[in-house]
């Protein structure tokens, strides 16, 4: 097929579908319990140099505990999909975990403003960057989930976003229409936070799914954190709720309030005071270091982090906020 134009950006993962098939041929289909701690899951499944993808949408339904643990265990030289990433990006920048980055949305926390530390890291020259869009990365995962090496999209053409990407422009063999061919991404490892999972990794999600259903299928290794474990009988009672099947999953970690300080649909709203504090302390590198020692490096796990930031009282407030109960409690 003739390539009409191509971007100069790097492609950090191999888009070869047959190589991916060889990997998935050997991936276990056994229905075995996969429950473990976040610490253990990160030790086993997240390695230096891996390409990482984080599910959810920045500060909504994110696997915060996994992000903290990756920083705590000091992973380095990773590739990362900066896809709808906001607070998760901020955490990973704090640990300077990655040095190869596919960008769709980074550095910002939407209406909350830009992260000073993430900007410093991105302006340091330490990170090799390839440029995409949210939809471009979505279809790169969609291609991988479908077992094909690229997906044709109608965005980015004519822009610098295309120029600094690794996409190629091709022509439709039926109509002659131009398409930007987006290469598949099979991440080495992904982490997704869900509402409910059984011990084998069958998952239920409420609210928006962003790109997580494709990410779960594209990832070679998948860590699930869940608000609560449910029985396998409940999964089988009504399989229409299952959005990720167990054969995609490598680890299941029960982490109630696991998206904190992010929002979790139908459970709790984001902790805006705490997210504001993150942005503020980042202005001063010394103060930020003390903040990270307190909130990540000295914490045993996610619950210690939550305890230090208001514990159950705070969480109840965030539950009220999620449902917009006004004046239910003082």
């Amino acid at each position: 097929m003739e390539v009409l134009d191509q971007g100069i950006g790097a492609i950090f993962t191999d888009p070869d579908a047959d190589k991916a098939r060889e990997f998935f041929r050997k991936k276990s289909r056994a229905l075995t319990p996969k429950v473990m701690s976040v610490k253990e899951a990160v030790e086993k499944f997240v390695h230096d140099g891996d390409y990482l993808c984080i599910g959810g949408f920045g500060a909504n339904r994110i696997p915060t505990a996994v992000c903290h643990e990756i920083v705590r265990q000091g992973r380095k030289n990773m590739g990362f999909a900066g896809h709808t990433s906001t607070h998760d990006f901020q955490i990973l920048c704090a640990g300077e975990v990655f040095d190869k980055l596919d960008v769709a949305y980074i550095v910002g926390l939407e209406a909350r403003g830009l992260s000073p530390n993430a900007r410093r890291y991105m302006e340091s020259g330490k990170v090799k960057v390839s440029e995409w869009t949210n939809y471009s990365l979505s279809v790169r995962f969609k291609a991988a989930a479908a077992g094909v090496s690229f997906y044709p999209a109608r965005n980015v053409m004519g822009t610098d976003t295309f120029k600094y990407s690794g996409a190629k422009i091709i022509q439709c063999p039926f109509t002659g229409t131009k398409y930007a061919a987006m290469p598949a991404i099979w991440p080495d490892v992904a982490a997704i936070h869900v509402h409910e999972a059984d011990i084998y990794g069958n998952c239920r999600i409420r609210g928006i799914t962003v790109s997580d259903l494709d990410v779960a299928r594209a990832a070679k290794r998948l860590i699930i954190t869940c608000e609560r474990l449910i029985q396998n009988d409940e999964i089988r009672r009504d399989p229409s709720y299952t959005v990720i099947p167990y054969w995609c999953v490598d680890a299941v970690c029960e982490v109630p309030y696991g998206s904190y300080p992010g929002n979790m649909y139908g459970e709790y709203f984001s902790d805006e005071d705490h997210l504001r504090e993150w942005l503020k302390v980042e202005q001063d590198p010394d103060e930020f270091k003390r903040f990270l020692d307190k909130n990540i490096y000295s914490c045993k796990d996610h619950f210690e982090y939550i305890e230090k930031n208001g514990g159950m009282h705070k969480l109840l407030k965030l539950r009220e906020k999620e449902f917009m109960f006004t004046k239910a409690r003082d």
Binding site: G82, T84, V107, E131, A153, T159, N263
Partner: protein, 260 residues
């Protein structure tokens, strides 16, 4: 005659101007902040059947209060569907999204937007911004792309240093030749001083309406390139008392957006 209210700020005027562009039964893709406020105002004031879509998957919510994130729970409050990013962008790509509102650090005479970087070295930028997010996608696919932004010569530049999000690209028929879907493109630019559209042949930005209290000279003086002028330039009507009441009491009581 609807009662006019003189006491309003420029952000309120921009939001009211934008809201009036969204007719009942239309669909719009929005982000957080002023665009979302405009969509909410349209829905409450005159377009109860406005379909509001958020890139993360929220589809046709009845938004109860200003979302902080385009993926937070407010974007699916009493919604028709909680979906995903491909669902929303595919809806746009197959031609069912009428409008989108975008912003950026820089905009040029063809409506191209830069939200990626300042400085020549892509791997070590002087200033790094978030990048496209879903902006390039919405601008590629939605029939009419609109921008809400303050009028400022540092923002309105002759050529953006980096095209994150496509406007009319190089003008003329360059966008049609690029491969982007035909017939879609920048429609209106709404600022604190004026409303601009794009001259149909050259696709260059031109003034079509001036906000109360400003002159054509003010607009030109606060723009880094020569603006074309429509054959007839009208005065943009100020917000009505009803619009302001909805905006202040129901949409943004804490003045997160209108207090800026």
């Amino acid at each position: 005659m609807t009662e006019r209210m003189a006491d309003y700020n420029t952000m309120e005027l921009m939001i009211c101007t934008a809201a009036r562009e969204l007719e009942d039964g239309a669909s719009v893709g929005v982000g957080t902040g002023a665009p979302c406020a405009a969509a909410m105002l349209a829905q409450k004031a005159h377009s109860p059947n406005l379909v509001i879509l958020f890139e993360a998957g929220g589809a046709a919510p009845l938004i109860p209060e200003m979302p902080i994130s385009v993926g937070d729970s407010r974007t699916t409050w009493k919604a028709i569907m909680a979906s995903g990013m491909c669902e929303i962008m595919e809806t746009a790509c197959r031609g069912m999204l009428d409008y989108t509102f975008l912003g950026g650090a820089q905009i040029d005479m063809y409506g191209n937007l830069n939200s990626t970087r300042i400085g020549p070295d892509h791997q070590k930028p002087k200033v790094r911004f978030p990048g496209s997010g879903g902006a390039n996608d919405f601008a590629s696919f939605c029939w009419r792309m609109m921008v809400m932004t303050p009028q400022d010569p540092k923002r309105f530049v002759e050529r953006v240093s980096y095209i994150t999000t496509p406007g009319w690209l190089e003008g003329g028929d360059s966008r049609a030749k690029s491969g982007l879907p035909l017939g879609a493109g920048p429609y209106k630019i709404i600022t604190n001083m004026a409303v601009m559209d794009f001259e149909p042949e050259s696709k260059r930005m031109r003034i079509i309406a001036i906000n109360p209290g400003y002159s054509e000279k003010d607009v030109q003086d606060n723009c880094g390139f020569e603006l074309l002028k429509a054959p007839k330039i009208v005065e943009n009507p100020p917000p009505t008392a009803e619009e302001l009441a909805i905006l202040r009491d129901q949409i943004d009581p804490y003045r997160y957006v209108i207090g800026r």
